[in-house]
Symmetry: C3
Subunit: 270 residues, 3 copies
């Protein structure tokens, strides 16, 4: 049995902070399978970390333990929490970083972790609280061995805007720019009525008249919109950076509209 | 038994793409030993990825599974492949990324992987095709369980220029600039006749009159040429960056010549 | 049994050097648990690497093997060494990189590793000497199987300045700037007499009149000094970068002083 632990932080890779967390966990459970999700969340950017975690956790097997630490409130009275959801365990600060992945659902069990005690620093709960909790869970402890249960409704939730879905338009925004300069939006493929391909997509100077099914549908250097591997609308340039070309940034509005002709023919048939 | 899987991509480490691949593999084979080769291949740079893989795979034990994903053609009709070579398994797109390491040889068995089917995105075959294939191989499947056999001769090959070896000169080029600013060339140590130390090396503004055996043969800040740990000619500056000092870039011509005196004495004795 | 091996280098993550080391180790000991401490030590910066290692190793369980490679003297007559200290094994070049963590103590056993022999390059002892040594130790070899014993007093030691502790002042310096722009100093919390909170801290343009217990003690954007998770004095800006704001760099003097009033009241009561 090799419990999987994933780590997502804003610690970067230049220091040994992530390594220290892993050392603590391996001291508690030597058989761990450790996987880095990313440590490049912009410092203190809870929303970016939450979006990354929301899109990544579900690709891991049931029983996986996920630690996430983007924690500007470390040492304050913000709570340290752990919860179980769909057979996975999530551990981190109670600042919305973890709770975003719940969507409109609630976790099965939530505990508040103790942040007092010998050897707990005021500045590095990633190592002294969250890694200890993950190591103990991996070694067989239950959530209730780690702290006292608190109501699921008490979790801090981030307020991330949901797209506005109208009859002939959808207005969303850019959540993340990825390594290639592709812009990931909050518009999920399930929001766009069939046929998905007939929508105009516009974001700042970016504009296309249909949704493609893959990068190779357009020529090198051409813009396109497509459904990403996270099932969200993605704005891209084939073999290039859409973010650089069109000055795209997180939070920019993205607008899908049905062109007039399409609208009319659709209206006629409904 | 802990099968080793290496990963080489152009995904970077800022997103969770690599983590998602690892999650999929661990769901199929929990005992994996996962090793990152690099995820910093410049976006879409198949040649750079191929050179990195060619120099790295052979340091792993027999039975290792290598996934490489630099895949500008994802979603097009480019094939997804896996092959066995010298007891290792290689998995990735059929665009030359893997085949470069074969040199003039052929793999033992090649299969084309299916890229249709439930849950396969059009944009992320790294996770949906290649990671699944690696996880299944690690869990005990054979290559033929993953797809249908295709001729080894059908593999796409990159055309990387070979050095031109003359009687008194060798002309090659820079393949990679490493983290230190050292330039790695395509001139292999086996190409230079004995005695290796008597050659002039010239590349742009860089020039030295002999080949050193190690960095410490010259003073700090001095240029040198030496045989790298990949057994190729390397251009360096001790404790400095040759690339920055001499404006070296990939593709620049590197010229080795026998100085006149040496040439004559050698000609006299042959 | 899964021996833990940590790696700390200045190799960066753009090349496959770290991966090659891991491949060699896994060939010798397939059950390894591999953990990266950091590979972002500035090229050839032995002191920075030594400080990172000194603060990180102790978080790993007894029996851990630590490889550190910041090695400007590779290929020269600098020795390759391995030693045991407090139940951990340390492997690397004998240039002070490892010895700093010993403080004023001596290791239990030191051996010099052979750097001659088939397949050992002159430029990459990380792979050809140190990874081989770590893999063999992990697989069960003893230190004496790897080389001949040498006196502990023969280890090269770095000369890192110690703080000057006076009656009413402490003068230290910045050792590291971390990912957030926090400055880590060489002033340990044990050096400051009780009560720690009454000291003035000054470093260049940075100045605060007390030592805080955590980041949240001040408002966002405000400067503070606190005891870091490494139990050293740290200079920070809440939710910001102290290094950027105050132009802090490694080596800058940091001065703690007791303000006059405090000094007098303390003197009166002692």
């Amino acid at each position: 049995m090799r419990p999987v632990v994933t780590l997502l932080t804003d610690f970067g890779l230049d220091d040994t902070f992530v390594g220290q967390m892993k050392g603590v966990m391996l001291g508690l459970c030597p058989s761990l399978q450790l996987v880095d999700l990313t440590h490049s969340v912009p410092p203190q950017s809870v929303v970016t970390g939450a979006v990354h975690l929301r899109w990544a956790w579900c690709w891991f097997p049931e029983g996986t333990i996920h630690i996430a630490v983007v924690d500007p409130g470390v040492g304050s009275d913000r709570r340290a929490i752990a919860f179980r959801f769909r057979g996975h365990i999530f551990i981190g600060p109670d600042n919305g970083l973890l709770a975003l992945l719940l969507g409109e659902q609630e976790p099965d069990q939530v505990v508040e972790l103790s942040t007092n005690g010998g050897g707990i620093s005021n500045t590095f709960h990633g190592r002294d609280v969250f890694a200890v909790a993950a190591g103990r869970i991996a070694a067989g402890d239950s959530l209730l061995d780690l702290g006292h249960e608190v109501p699921a409704t008490s979790l801090i939730r981030l307020e991330i805007p949901e797209p506005v879905v109208g009859r002939n338009s959808i207005e969303g925004e850019i959540l993340l720019i990825d390594h290639y300069g592709n812009a990931m939006t909050n518009i999920r493929s399930s929001m766009t009525p069939d046929p998905i391909i007939r929508w105009n997509v516009q974001c700042g100077e970016f504009q296309v008249e249909r949704i493609s099914s893959t990068y190779a549908d357009v020529q090198t250097g051409q813009p396109l919109a497509l459904v990403s591997s996270m099932n969200t609308l993605e704005i891209a340039v084939r073999d290039g950076s859409a973010a650089a070309r069109y000055d795209l940034t997180c939070g920019m509005q993205v607008r899908l509209t049905l062109p007039n002709a399409e609208t009319m023919s659709k209206e006629a048939t409904t």
